[in-house]
Subunit: 273 residues, 2 copies
């Protein structure tokens, strides 16, 4: 459940925002979901770098990093949680006019909320192929912006189907990512993961996988992934900041193997900060 | 400028919403912009029908129509405006959990705001071709949902280029619509307007054009429109609830003609309610 005490809006405790905020009106903003353990914020610099890249792409002024870090720490401390997920939302701010066109004089809105660590996944992580596709737009690809209706619709259908996660295709039919994760197929000597030039989010854990896998003698290839390759895959993993590297036990009704190299890669990821 | 006195959130005067609203977090909702003149709300039933179609598509409970109408009228009365634009935002509501997946137990949020009628456009309506493209997604096409970053980026670039409006292409390169309007090319015996199966919003005025044009002996053809057809067009109009049928005087540096049939079509539209 949400805890409005562990929320700061522009640095002030509270859980209300302006009804004229452009984040609400247009999804005109960005977010990050951070993992906090024993008061330590994991991969803060990486989250900040992605947020900064998103702000640059949208022409939104990036909030001060020391300020954001202090707000994240304050939200976690207020919540008094051993482990938490902290969501940062940054929007272009309250609009003083009607219409899509930014005024240029908006003041950025920051919302920082600590959420309790979610419960365990269960023994079997079940994944399907989503009927909801992803629109392609290179100008929005990779960044974690607030236009997430495709993911909402995908998760809504996933819930109805009793699935933890669903993999999503572009309009062209290529596999891109999960609704809340990146995806990887285990191959003989490499991991294959879709490129993200046209849609999808460039995950923090995905970047760690790309950096660390070579230490295990494992190449990671980014490129096109087809639905047929998924259907033939021996082992699949998905990743995000909450799950880390999550083996998929069941894909579209078919049991999958768990590749032992995943656990070794997870250990390397656990050693980063 | 905005006027928070003329805003109702779930029927209560005020201009604050929950920082946990899914409209803010994911753009998980819909909106309508209505024209009000001398206390009369134009095309209310049409707006309501589109809103209802959007709610159906997203699985959001549609608010009661009499309630929405009374809130629109109250906002306009409070604002004391002769002419106003009223924006209705309907979201899935406040989320009690983190994550894209709807809980199913959210209570819909309604935000109704009256905005002053905008100032005149000026003598020359200048339009360009946007460098920002539209992602395709048939599940989101036609409805007026809150995921509008593409339109924001397009209007941001339009402002920098000194343009009133920009026309947007799909990823495939086909012309779809303006960032805040539908578009039509005048042909010898017909109006040509892009189909909206993959992206774009099914405008209220666009529907009126499709219905009323035959009364002038004018066919309206919906179909593919190429950038080359725009470049060759003799006369172009755009439409939305604020502008009505707006002749384009200048497209990408080229002066256009104003087709007299537009004024006759506008008269027919003015006669509807």
């Amino acid at each position: 459940m949400i805890d409005s005490r562990a929320t700061l809006v522009n640095g002030v405790p509270g859980a209300q925002v302006s009804a004229f905020d452009r984040g609400l009106h247009y999804g005109d903003g960005l977010f990050e979901t951070l993992r906090c353990e024993q008061g330590r914020v994991r991969w803060f610099d990486r989250h900040l770098a992605r947020l900064g890249a998103g702000c640059m792409r949208l022409g939104i002024a990036m909030p001060d990093s020391a300020l954001l870090r202090s707000e994240v720490e304050a939200a976690v401390a207020e919540a008094g949680m051993e482990r938490a997920l902290v969501k940062i939302i940054v929007t272009r701010g309250e609009s003083r006019r009607r219409g899509y066109r930014p005024g240029g004089d908006e003041r950025v809105t920051r919302i920082v909320s600590a959420y309790p660590w979610p419960g365990p996944i269960g023994a079997e992580f079940r994944v399907g192929l989503s009927p909801v596709t992803l629109g392609s737009n290179p100008q929005l690809a990779g960044i974690k912006h607030l236009n997430r209706l495709e993911q909402v619709l995908a998760q809504r259908a996933a819930a109805a189907a009793g699935l933890h996660e669903v993999l999503m295709r572009s309009e062209r039919g290529e596999v891109v990512c999960g609704s809340m994760s990146n995806v990887y197929l285990w191959q003989e000597r490499e991991l294959l993961t879709p490129g993200l030039a046209d849609c999808g989010v460039a995950g923090i854990v995905r970047a760690l996988v790309l950096e660390l896998a070579p230490r295990l003698g494992l190449a990671v290839r980014t490129g096109r992934v087809s639905v047929a390759q998924l259907a033939d895959a021996r082992a699949i993993i998905v990743s995000n900041v909450r799950l880390g590297l999550q083996p998929v036990h069941w894909y579209e009704g078919r049991p999958l193997e768990v590749d032992v190299r995943g656990a070794r890669l997870q250990e390397l990821i656990d050693g980063t900060h």
